[in-house]
Amino acid sequence: MSYFVQRLAQAVPLLLGLLVLNFLLIHAAPGDPIYVLAGQSGDAAYYAEMRAKFGLDRPVLEQLARYLLNILGGDFGYSYAFSQPVFGVVLGRVPATLLLMLAGTGVATLLGIWLGIVAARRAESPIDHLISAATLVGYSMPAFWLGQVLIIVFAAGLGAFPVQGMATARGGYVGLRYVADVLWHLALPALTLGILQLALVTRLTRIALREALAEDFVRTARAKGLASGAILYRHALRNALLPVVTVVGGHIGTLLAGAVLTEIIFAWPGLGRLLYDATLTRDYPLLMAIFLIVSVSVVFANILTDLAYAWLDPRVRYR
């Protein structure tokens, strides 16, 4: 419990730092900061109101304080492109992105652990080398390009999976058939988003498992006459999974960035698509809000990762 509190306390200066960075960006941007704070398409009366709200004629420190108070109060500004508060616009897009991320990471992590086990058990065999080479290509290629290749193969060639959107347009499906339809649309985007994670998890599991299998407690287990399956799953794997947890949890930022690109390629109606549209329409309040939300998610994902790690490895808690 104290460990949890301690980690949470460490996050406070980080969050403040992120807010200040955001504030500095607004003021460093060329032109009047009012356009960044209130968007480019407001009228004179609205700008006057926003100037007063953010105190743009006041000293910088007071402006910063007002900015922080507004954000902490959940007020992220108003989106002219959508004619509603930014917060609501963003919130509406979160479920689609979460679904994509959960599907992508979930499948990639399980598959990656399995591939890592396969490679580590047959170390230095042809299959191990093949997996290693594929892993290298997996984390070296742009994931969005994989998405493009998948579209070429499936849309033009095979037609087995849909390549646009989250559900069949005018399909009118309800209940289970709707769920099946969404899953069918989810396959290729999830693969695109998950490829990096798949490659990283495979590589890490392989390395960590090989190290774990060389450790004393594994030798002891072997000397006791334990079956090699039991050694692998009960002793070595639990230890080998620690770095995997770190990578999966520590990669929320990467994953969100990947989601932006994936959503654009597959016209998936999530946060990333929204962000992209916001850059095109120069909807600055929306841009700033998404940046802030992503940053904060990263900080909290890191805390959760630490907690998961501490739970898996009790030695952490007692340091």
């Binding site: 200066p13 730092g17 992120l18 960006l25 941007a29 060329p30 960044v36 080398h129 080479a133 290298l136 984390y139 070296s140 290629m141 742009p142 969005f144 390009w145 493009q148 290749v149 070429i152 849309a155 990096l196 990283l200 590589r203 890490l204 390395i207 960590a208 090989r210 190290e211 450790e215 620690l242 770095p243 947890v245 770190t246 990578v247 520590g250 990669h251 930022g253 990467t254 969100l256 960035a257 990947g258 932006v260 690109l261 654009i264 962000l275 850059t279 600055y284 700033m288 998404i290 940053s295 990263v298 900080v299 890191n302 990762t305 630490d306 790690y309 501490a310 030695r315 952490v316 340091r319």
Partner: protein, 336 residues
Amino acid sequence: MTGSVSKAQAPNHTGGHAIEDHDARHSAGRRGPDDTRFGSIPSRLRSIPAQAGSGHARRGTWDRYRRRRAALLGLALLFGLASVGVLAGLVAPGDPFRSSGAPLQAPSLRHWLGTDDLGRDVFAGVVHGARLSLAVGLVAALTSGIVGTLVGSVAGYRGGITDDVLMRLTELVQVVPRFFLALLVAALFGPGVGAITLLLGLTFWPMTARLLRAQVLALRAQDFVLAAHALGVPDHRILVRHILPNAVPVAVVSTALQVGSAILVEAALSFLGLGDRSVPSWGNMLNGAQPLIRIAWWTAVFPGLAITLAVVAANLVGDGLSAALNPRLQGAGSRE
């Protein structure tokens, strides 16, 4: 400092990662000998034995490097791509932005990789695009290497408040999602290849800084440094002459591993249309190919292959350097 002891320490985060954050693949949830607060040190980089910076040691490094086939392949690939980029005018003469034939032609003898919707030769674009990608990757990685080395060595050597402040800053930069920051900066300030490169350089350094700090902390306690202190050698001289030469291998490895990541972020930004439009680049080509992929697969496939090849090459070289400069851990994660 055995593996099982260092494993007991808290997990790390390689922080706010954008798409490019492949460096985190090296973080095996472990820490360096003295790095107790700021996340793990990749196991292969954990502590590189002090070496005299003599020609003899360097020869040993090259001997170890060239024994790995994958590392040599990476070096050859990188060299080949760099040559193509430098000699782009000879390999594919003419302006790659100019139309050189009918639009949307499939690959043929005349247009090896086909043409795009404006009749521009895809081969010429891929060849000229090598310049930008490699330059951005190298410059961004070098910038981050320099900043990381400075921050890490000063923090490790000075300790105390300096260390605290610098490490807080490192943590902050580490959690900023750099892909989103780059996107925001490109949207606010307008796209420009120089600005993007600088931004990448200024966001990639925390990993190097953490590694350097751990290395400097370890070196600071060694006899030859204590002896220099006792002889009254001034601090800055000890740092520059005695500690940094021994910490450089760590910085080299971590810098090399950032090259591929930087290439990937630049490509992603250009793909979104937020890159520099005035320079031929692989990311720009993929951006142009997005509406064409159903009718002209070659416009998307070849620029993407080029990016993949460049990043594979950079990663192979990084892995090779890491193994060559750190012989004690050779084999732990080797990939031949």
